[in-house]
Symmetry: D2
Subunit: 362 residues, 4 copies
Amino acid sequence: MNTFGTLFRITTFGESHGPAIGGIIDGMPAGMSLDMDALQAYVNRRSPGRSAVATQRRESDSVELLSGIGLDGVTLGTPIGFVVRNSDCRPQDYEAMRHTFRPSHADYTYQAKYGVRDHRGGGRASARETVARVVAGAIAYQALQRYGIEICAFTRCIGPVRYDISPADYAGVSNADVYASDLRCPDEATAQRMRRLLAEVQADGDSVGGIVSAVIKGVPAGLGEPVFGKFSATLAAAMMSIGAAKGFEYGMGFDGACCRGSQVIDPFTIDDGGAVVTSSNHSGGVQGGITNGMDVTFSVAFKPVATLRRPVDTITDSGERVTLSVGGRHDVCVVPRAVAVVDAMAAIVTLDALLQSRASRI
Amino acid sequence: MNTFGTLFRITTFGESHGPAIGGIIDGMPAGMSLDMDALQAYVNRRSPGRSAVATQRRESDSVELLSGIGLDGVTLGTPIGFVVRNSDCRPQDYEAMRHTFRPSHADYTYQAKYGVRDHRGGGRASARETVARVVAGAIAYQALQRYGIEICAFTRCIGPVRYDISPADYAGVSNADVYASDLRCPDEATAQRMRRLLAEVQADGDSVGGIVSAVIKGVPAGLGEPVFGKFSATLAAAMMSIGAAKGFEYGMGFDGACCRGSQVIDPFTIDDGGAVVTSSNHSGGVQGGITNGMDVTFSVAFKPVATLRRPVDTITDSGERVTLSVGGRHDVCVVPRAVAVVDAMAAIVTLDALLQSRASRI
Amino acid sequence: MNTFGTLFRITTFGESHGPAIGGIIDGMPAGMSLDMDALQAYVNRRSPGRSAVATQRRESDSVELLSGIGLDGVTLGTPIGFVVRNSDCRPQDYEAMRHTFRPSHADYTYQAKYGVRDHRGGGRASARETVARVVAGAIAYQALQRYGIEICAFTRCIGPVRYDISPADYAGVSNADVYASDLRCPDEATAQRMRRLLAEVQADGDSVGGIVSAVIKGVPAGLGEPVFGKFSATLAAAMMSIGAAKGFEYGMGFDGACCRGSQVIDPFTIDDGGAVVTSSNHSGGVQGGITNGMDVTFSVAFKPVATLRRPVDTITDSGERVTLSVGGRHDVCVVPRAVAVVDAMAAIVTLDALLQSRASRI
Amino acid sequence: MNTFGTLFRITTFGESHGPAIGGIIDGMPAGMSLDMDALQAYVNRRSPGRSAVATQRRESDSVELLSGIGLDGVTLGTPIGFVVRNSDCRPQDYEAMRHTFRPSHADYTYQAKYGVRDHRGGGRASARETVARVVAGAIAYQALQRYGIEICAFTRCIGPVRYDISPADYAGVSNADVYASDLRCPDEATAQRMRRLLAEVQADGDSVGGIVSAVIKGVPAGLGEPVFGKFSATLAAAMMSIGAAKGFEYGMGFDGACCRGSQVIDPFTIDDGGAVVTSSNHSGGVQGGITNGMDVTFSVAFKPVATLRRPVDTITDSGERVTLSVGGRHDVCVVPRAVAVVDAMAAIVTLDALLQSRASRI
């Protein structure tokens, strides 16, 4: 199941240290002039950047489109195949893991499932697979812009350091501010505190988790399908398919579980332009699984990176207990890089729902 | 998209106040002797019960199986069609909602999507649709028992009242204790506090949210598919497709976002029986999206019921601002009833993953 | 896999002698006023009628819709569940088949696949399952009429007796003529010859095959998806899923294999109204898998009914060789009844393609 | 919909004169040692060869696998991405078609659907896309061999010249004989007559159609799913998705429509080894949509190539009537090349059905 989506569908492939990551975007509507520079820039947003706390692996992530685009750069309606070469592989870094299962990684589970695995850098389970998602997201994003839909994802927490912003204010966050920050945190004061934390964590040979929050703006009312195809359920599936994700919530989320209905109900009213709006948005833009025209707000929790510079106890594939000290190049925190992936998956979900909604009425 | 699943698939139909709720279970393997009494008992677990805080609607939820079962009660491998009649409808209770959008309900979004809606009790968006999920879950559950897999879901929070139990201890909760409790909370002391809260909330004409937690025990290592078909992503999609769900987390969940890797890494070891186990289970039984053989633990946050006995501000479908006072019969808190639905969806996801895993190796 | 379709999807259930046949129609667009009388009349077109050569089983095939239709008879966009009760069952007729495999039936293959089967009247493999297809087709058909699309299927061959008409003339056949004929053959002279043949065949205790041909008129250009979702490939899948179908062809079909390109090429031209048309239609309205706006023409070959009144050699499920003489009520030729099923499946395929085509362009 | 399959799935991309054709094979079971030489040899079977009647386009069709294969050449269970570069493109040959619709090609239908198209060599609708199918088929084929399943497809007709062989004898045809023949006809006497016909046709600037027949040997009983997932229906969909296919039949096919039941019924018996067999095989190995353990036999009709060297009447995209004389390099008959594609699609369908059948029983 390396395919996601109903009408706008992506299918991806690639191991971390194989020749390439790539995919096929199927169902992209015809007739959109694709801005290749913007596409590459969008993909680059996922790249580690120069931060001291990010993996030192350097990939240019140069996207090669192989089909689906006409001579004049216009989408043809046919599938868009693409590859991104893996250039900076150092498989020798992973020789120690050939027979050893790294704790809290997918080494053991892939071995258990398949009886075989690519031990180099996590193989298919590596975060490197997300580059294919971001390429698809880049194209979906350009399509959404035609409909006035914008997405902004950002770092809200790194460990206990939290950017104090309520979902009602997500709409005010700008992608310019987000991507000006190496940590993808639009608030520089918070980013400073995050940087200090990351320096400590790195010094300890440790890692840390965090939370990405996001808003989808300009979504028309009526996206999402009953009952299993709820916009919120599909968004959850998209987000929870990202490697290190451990939790998803939208609107009031888990906090809402503690609340009373009278505190969180969203009264309908008519705005100055005559549009139906809600005077609050605890629902996070989705009611009964279908968008109501308000901003869609959600958050995704990511676990700490499972690769530590500290030695850890584990076993080998022959059942021997060993202590593992891992080389390789790894992030201390996955969140800054995950921001662009959350953005991309949100774009994919939204475009797919938009296309499906065209069949809602006779 | 009223279908869920890949090999074990359910498709459901039904409006709250239409003639019936029902569905088709496709892909149920042949050869299982179905215990009809156990099936009906499982379905009944979802029913409101006698609690003063639950909806006063009384449905017998008697399941009529229409196909797929042989004369001797054995599954045939063919689709199992079923209906559950809606007997206790009082559509007149909903006359006031014919032209008025209840806040934080799906009335407006269905109208926006379809240009038409069944205004009676939420129509397709009613919690009543979950009875079809529970029928399918009942059958999946019986299949899982053949493989030694057990599920236990329970009420962990109602509003701020929390049953204080860590995921590591979920495995100790018994369904007998859960379903002995009208609130589906296995700890009677906590249930007492929850009951007091609910009485207050009801007296206030208000409602309250809560959290259901669950464990899937006995899951073999190797279930779940890379990359988009992760066990955790599918479980998230299943849970977030339940009407009032606002959040999902598994293993350490959102708390893990605040942690350091060294705190939450799960070292592998070999247990006394020679099996690969982890000495802690912050991963919640899933690593890289694939089960590792440990208990799968997760939680689902539910919002407060959106129907209050208090008057609320809203608008009509002609854009007029009105104050709505709702009749009808409604739960004060959806959580006690949601427990059985969470259990059912977990059973569906697990059986589907189990069947898919048979194709993992040549 | 009891589901067919992408956006307009049907899922069906039911054994021949179980309580009911039924299904769920998912993805029916909202806002269509459903003519229930026309729906029932469409379903009745499949019924055996009074012909001496048809099965003597009498089913009223009364359709009960359980959801998805509003109080005013308008489609809600939500799934339409339905059941058709099996009233005229005589399972005792099938007692002889409990342990014996009827030759050229599905008895053995279901047993081989599932290790168990419903031996009564073919169970799931009975032609009775097609009633669910016809209900779905009836609704699709009404939707297509809104777009000026009409379908006409008819009996072209029964055994060697052939209604001599070329695909170019299919458009002239009227459903009124088709359904005025007990044999669904619009040409009464041919129908007479068919009737004589069928009387002979019946007197011999034998059965006979035949061919259904059909035309879909008014299909806009642009339906069908590359590469695997070709309109023609989906139509083939739909038709070949009908129980006794052995062959499918469209446009020039198998005859075209013998031809030269210069004989069968369809030159484009502009008609008097300024529309793009082809001056011949050997392509059968589909080029490169996508409709070109001309009539879609196709044929489906059906094998002779496998149940004979003559004794046949076969084996039991314990491997014993026996001679089987079958009771039960059976058609001598399936074709007259298959006509309505072909029509229904064509309607389903066309509506689904029409809905999908809305997502072709940005 | 550029994806085909349920558990073993292929998704393909590529325009005829774009940079590459490629695809992703998802659901290939882990643990199979892939013979890369055999894979390339299988792919090469599709290549035009040296025949004077085949297109003069020369492609090495060198397959580059990008993922899903371990260091030791063993399948990992993860998706297998691949590309085949288009090296011998001469887009200038197609300049005349930029604004002109070639009759009986997909030029007009793609334009009608998408409002835009790649005019060079048919773009996505070119037979060149089939190279991706053959790569996937090559891998499926190697998997099937592990289960003792063999496929043999061959040229049965070119125009009116027919290799006179009954389905009962297909099992005797060897791939060695088929691929020793430039026309993929295992009977050299017939191939001679076909060659003479093709020479005439070419001299006339014309083209001709034909029929490919095939057998799948060693298929176990029990493959295929009721009702819409019949083995025969899926096979039909697979074959009819090949560009120039106009008809599909299996077993007795269209001929069976003329027959009486007593002529074509397949009595069950027990063979010397104690296995259940039928003493004839008019059913073509499939009964009720499920394989019965006998050889699966089927045929696919292909239309004459639509590109003629003769001038043809057509219109431009501005509605002007013109006479078109086409350059480019084209086959006179598609059948010899289609043989390998039919073989590949049959392998894909069979492996997918085999994997699905593992979930048939509890």
